[in-house]
Symmetry: C2
Subunit: 469 residues, 2 copies
Amino acid sequence: MAGEIAETRPVWLWQQIAVFYPPRCRQRQTEVHADLLIHADWVIPVEPAGVLAHHSIAVEDGRITAIATRAEAERQISAREQVHLPGHALIPGLINAHTHSAMTLFRGLADDLPLMSWLSDHIWPAEARWVHEEFVADGSRLAMAEMIRSGTTCFNDMYFFPDVTGRVAGQAGMRATVGLIVIDFPSAWAADADQYFDKAIAVHDQFRNDPLVRTAFAPHAPYSVSDAPLRRVLTLANELDLPVHMHVHETIAEVRSSLEQSGHRPIERLRRLDMLTTGLMAVHMTQLETDEIVLFAESGAQVVHCPESNLKLASGHCPVTQLLDAGINVALGTDGAASNNDLDMFGEMRSAALQAKGLAGDACAVPAELALRMATLHGARALGIEAHTGSLAVGKSADIVAVDLAQPETQPLFHPVSQLVYAAGRGQVQHVWINGRHVLNKRALTTIDLAQVLQRAAAWRDKITESTV
Amino acid sequence: MAGEIAETRPVWLWQQIAVFYPPRCRQRQTEVHADLLIHADWVIPVEPAGVLAHHSIAVEDGRITAIATRAEAERQISAREQVHLPGHALIPGLINAHTHSAMTLFRGLADDLPLMSWLSDHIWPAEARWVHEEFVADGSRLAMAEMIRSGTTCFNDMYFFPDVTGRVAGQAGMRATVGLIVIDFPSAWAADADQYFDKAIAVHDQFRNDPLVRTAFAPHAPYSVSDAPLRRVLTLANELDLPVHMHVHETIAEVRSSLEQSGHRPIERLRRLDMLTTGLMAVHMTQLETDEIVLFAESGAQVVHCPESNLKLASGHCPVTQLLDAGINVALGTDGAASNNDLDMFGEMRSAALQAKGLAGDACAVPAELALRMATLHGARALGIEAHTGSLAVGKSADIVAVDLAQPETQPLFHPVSQLVYAAGRGQVQHVWINGRHVLNKRALTTIDLAQVLQRAAAWRDKITESTV
């Protein structure tokens, strides 16, 4: 039992480190330099699986340059900054593979309602009235404060004004993929199909060389985007080499209306449009039939599972175990805070593991290690950024989260990964680095003015409340 | 929308307060005295439903003596200590209606396993080796540290050495009902049936006049206690006027083995033994048939729902909505930290609400207000202590929890109860009073030496790990 957290032979040998350093650093192994050296009781790389006890991570120019035993690191690396974290585990930054960050300003506005009534009677009217640039900036920043404080370093967003969300992400130092939204109805963002596409291309251009912010096409859902714009999305996504982020099979009502309108279930319609490709991130995926799972597996398309949102809106169940067994890459997302009602990936990992066991009637379904993998590496894979993030590996960006496991809620400690998934809370996240930048330091945000964020949230609350009295 | 948190007419009129004061205090209304006056942005009494904005709670001799608007309280009550909590909500202390607190020392020892393999291959062998007085004291104290830090003021325990857990609860200032365990096999606590009963009666006597600690009979489960001791439990419970705390219908295997052994399903067996009474707290209650729900409703027996434990062990689903619709009192419990893996009633409220919606296919099932009620008043009712705790009401004990809702995770704030159930985390609990005693002050435990608790937990981890290498 103790073997799992005992001293493990480092997976990345010391020799490999030198590859990343210019020759002057290699003159003497004892003088390898790093910007930052983090020493922790446990390093959990996710890939490969397992736990490295008493290891250290070296970071230079925003990248991980070494993962070594503490003894080795102290002997061979001189760092400008050293951070000692006894009792902490280092994990890859969590990746929230589906959210609508600006909607955090609608958190708790309407609860305990089914999806269509929640959307039609509450969310869409509120959006029609309030969603403009300032709303999206304030809502996204509030979301990022919450995400960083809970160990999320990267998020996949779908909302109006993606340029604003992207800009705020850059300011906050967060990694993001912002969705180039396409939807059949007019909004404050775009008046018609042409404008949605013009703006999409402009936003894509804007972030083309951004070190943190990428773009994906984001046709809202099969029920809200007709065939012509979907074909245009596909053409442009191929041309620009962008992923496609879309709600698919969220509810039974969506499946029924698709059958009525097109004679096909939504997935069959997407197949006929040639949209089932490795670039598709299909979010929710409830109400699945076996042949649809096979079709997805064969296509190599990505699934994003949002267990808490699906439960809260009683939308149905995503058959996670079957999807994983079929070899499909399943990532995790919180969905927007208006339907979740938080952006806590620790809670989501736990919910995903528990719900999968309950649904499969199998306590072995989605064990802790797999839940953590879904919340990290699978997310990076879905977003097409696995080469840069999603695990702690030499050469990847330093997207690192330090979780304090020395608190009573995670003691005694037999298996660090079990504690992370089944017992740890978001409040145990003490430090977050994104691309090597220290964005959370002893729980203090370094890139976001929290007082201002809270003051803006309160002002929005007053405004929205007054209008609905 | 805003009406719910607007200034509400206080439910308890000022005149009522005087009833609780001796005549000298009544000479001038402006000089009513209290030990403690807590001012908060919201007071959520649970019973009656609703939210009182800008209200204060007065406490004297461990009891709530007034709930009034802040203006009224400041005008009419002079208090020795005043606590100002802007941005906070005051709620009744949460009641964990089923746990095995000492098992916190086995947290994460074995995960991702079904109930019987988890019990037979891991937990029972570990218990046989380790469970003694010192283990129970250390494990219970760790559990209480976690429970108080997450807003739980009262717990219903079932474990060996209930005298030790009761003693530790008294030291920690926690309200508890400790289970007088009865089980067919020998343990470190008792060698045979007679000894289990002798010790049960002795422990009951020990806590007979305790202000915080009560006792209940705790026959472990239908599959682990035979008819003769169950009859004896019933006789003694009636004689001593004690509730009966029992696992019932945890898994399908339990139902099958009962059918094989007795020819009856467990609930029918309990009915034949006359055990279905208002004093029965039946924990888990999965695999229920409609006539069993009717039988339970008619009997007035109590149900304790443990959603996370049932999911994690894939034990099955408790049909909460049907039970509530049938008029059954359903309380909430975490179960032990070895199967949950935490004792967080905030998480449990949320899981109960989400799981009920998913199971019923109805987003309106178990709304936030009901989840909070299940975690407070329903728990008190199940334990037979509704007159003393479970809601914020004049005359009840001051079991009060202050939750800081001004953090980004619960902003903006439209509906306090929604934020408490769907967005707040245990880390937002700032203050806890039990029986008027300030046991958590700005997140610092005042009755438990946390450093010592953690040191003991680490020592147990080393001991248990060494023995299983």
